[in-house]
C-alpha cells in the first residue's frame, strides 16, 4: 500500500486501505495500448454490436410482426431477447462475469425472487379480469 496514499494522507480517511481489496481486473495494469487491453476493448465493442442487433430485431418484430403472431409467442421472444441483453450488460459491462463465483452467486440469488414475484402478480391480475368479466352477480 505504500505506493498509494503517500502523497496525500487525507485520502486515507475517505477510502481506507482499500487498495488490496480490488478484484483482479482492478489490479495495477499500466499500458493501455497493450494487447491485453486491446482485447478487452474489442470485447466491449463486440457486446455493443450484439446489443444493437438484438434491439433492432426487437424493433422490427414489434413494428411489423407482433400483430400477426400469437401473443404468447411474441411475449416469449421479447422476454428472451431482453434477458439476453441484460445478461450481456451485467456480465461484460458491469464486469460481474469477471468477479469471483461466490460474489456472482450472492448477487444473483436474491433476483430469483422475481420468478415468484412475476408469476404470482400476473396470475392475480388475470384472475381479477376473469372475476370482473364473468361475475355471476351481474
Amino acid at each position: 500500500m505504500s505506493q498509494h496514499h503517500n502523497q496525500n494522507e487525507i485520502q486515507h480517511y475517505y477510502e481506507g486501505d482499500q487498495s488490496k481489496l480490488y478484484s483482479g481486473i482492478m489490479q495495477h495494469h499500466t499500458d493501455v495500448n497493450s494487447p491485453e487491453s486491446k482485447k478487452q476493448i474489442g470485447r466491449i465493442w463486440k457486446v455493443f454490436w450484439i446489443l444493437l442487433v438484438v434491439t433492432l430485431v426487437e424493433v422490427v418484430l414489434g413494428m411489423f410482426f407482433s400483430h400477426q403472431m400469437p401473443k404468447a409467442l411474441v411475449a416469449f421472444f421479447f422476454l428472451a431477447l431482453t434477458i439476453l441483453k441484460a445478461g450481456y450488460i451485467v456480465a461484460i459491462f458491469m464486469h460481474l462475469g469477471d468477479e469471483i463465483k461466490s460474489f456472482l452467486i450472492m448477487v444473483l440469488i436474491p433476483l430469483t425472487l422475481f420468478i415468484w414475484f412475476i408469476i404470482a402478480f400476473l396470475a392475480d391480475g388475470g384472475f381479477w379480469l376473469f372475476m370482473n368479466s364473468h361475475s355471476p352477480t351481474r
Binding site: L51, L56, V59, M94, S102, F103
Partner: protein
C-alpha cells in the same frame, strides 16, 4: 487476466479476516447491494404495471401511442424515436465501460475523454425524454389524465389498435380507465428512470471533475469511475426492461 490477491492467505482462511472474501472492495460491494435493492424497486413498479395490464380488458397499443418523431409532423413512425433513445443509452453505456477500462490502466486522458462522451450521451437521452413527455402531454396524457366519464371515445381511441373489432367493442366501457392507468404508469416509471439518469449524469460530472483535478491519480486508482460506472450500467439495464414492457409487449 491476473486474479492475484494482495495477501497470500490459503483458501481455508478465506473468511478469517484481513481480506475481502469476495475479492471486492467495500465501496463496490455496497454499490452492488444498492443496485440490488433498486432493481426490486423498479421490478415492483414494472410488475404492478403488468398486473394492471392483465386485469384490464383493453390496453393502449404502443405502435399507436409512440409513433411520432421530432419535426416529422403527423408521419406514422412507430417505435422509431424510442429506438433512437435506446441507441443513445446503449452508446453511453459503451463509453462508460471504456472510461472504466481506461481507469483500470490509470489512463487519465482516456477517462476524461470517455466520461465526457458518457455525460453527453446522458444529456441527449434526457433531452429525448423531455421531448417525448412534452409530446404525450400535448396529446392529453399526464398523471391523473383521462378521468372525465362524459368524454367521448374519440378522445382516447387513437391510443388503441381500434381497427380491431374486439378492441373497439371494449373501448366504451373500459377504454378510459385503461388510458388513465397506462399514462399513470408510463409517467411514473419513465419518470423514476429519468430521475436515475439525471442523478447518474450528476455523479458522472462529479467524477469527471475529480479526474480532471487529479484526485484519483493521487489516490492511486480510479475505483470511483468503476462505481459510478456500475450505477450507469444499471440505469441502462433498467431501460432495457422499461423498453420491453412499455414499447414492445
Amino acid at each position: 487476466m491476473s486474479q492475484a490477491t494482495a495477501t497470500t492467505a490459503p483458501e481455508t482462511k478465506m473468511w478469517g479476516g484481513g481480506r475481502s472474501p469476495f475479492n471486492v472492495s467495500y465501496g463496490k460491494m455496497m454499490m452492488w447491494f444498492f443496485l440490488l435493492s433498486d432493481s426490486f424497486t423498479f421490478g415492483a413498479l414494472l410488475i404492478a404495471y403488468g398486473t394492471t395490464r392483465f386485469f384490464s380488458a383493453v390496453w393502449p397499443d404502443a405502435n399507436q401511442v409512440f409513433k411520432s418523431f421530432p419535426f416529422m409532423g403527423e408521419a406514422n413512425l412507430p417505435l422509431l424515436f424510442v429506438s433512437l433513445m435506446t441507441f443513445i443509452l446503449i452508446m453511453s453505456s459503451v463509453t462508460m465501460v471504456l472510461a472504466v477500462h481506461a481507469g483500470h490502466y490509470g489512463d487519465k486522458q482516456g477517462v476524461i475523454k470517455w466520461m465526457l462522451w458518457t455525460i453527453v450521451g446522458g444529456i441527449c437521452f434526457l433531452s429525448c425524454q423531455a421531448w417525448e413527455w412534452t409530446h404525450l402531454h400535448s396529446e392529453g396524457g399526464w398523471w391523473g389524465s383521462f378521468i372525465n366519464a362524459t368524454d367521448p371515445v374519440s378522445t382516447f381511441q387513437h391510443f388503441f389498435n381500434h381497427h380491431k373489432e374486439s378492441v373497439q367493442a371494449a373501448l366504451p366501457a373500459h377504454g378510459m380507465q385503461a388510458t388513465h392507468d397506462f399514462f399513470n404508469y408510463f409517467f411514473t416509471i419513465t419518470g423514476f428512470h429519468g430521475a436515475h439518469v439525471t442523478s447518474g449524469v450528476i455523479f458522472n460530472i462529479v467524477v469527471l471533475i475529480n479526474t480532471v483535478n487529479g484526485t484519483y491519480e493521487r489516490r492511486g486508482h480510479y475505483e470511483m469511475v468503476e462505481k459510478v460506472g456500475l450505477y450507469w450500467h444499471f440505469v441502462d439495464l433498467v431501460w432495457v426492461f422499461v423498453f420491453t414492457c412499455f414499447y414492445l409487449l
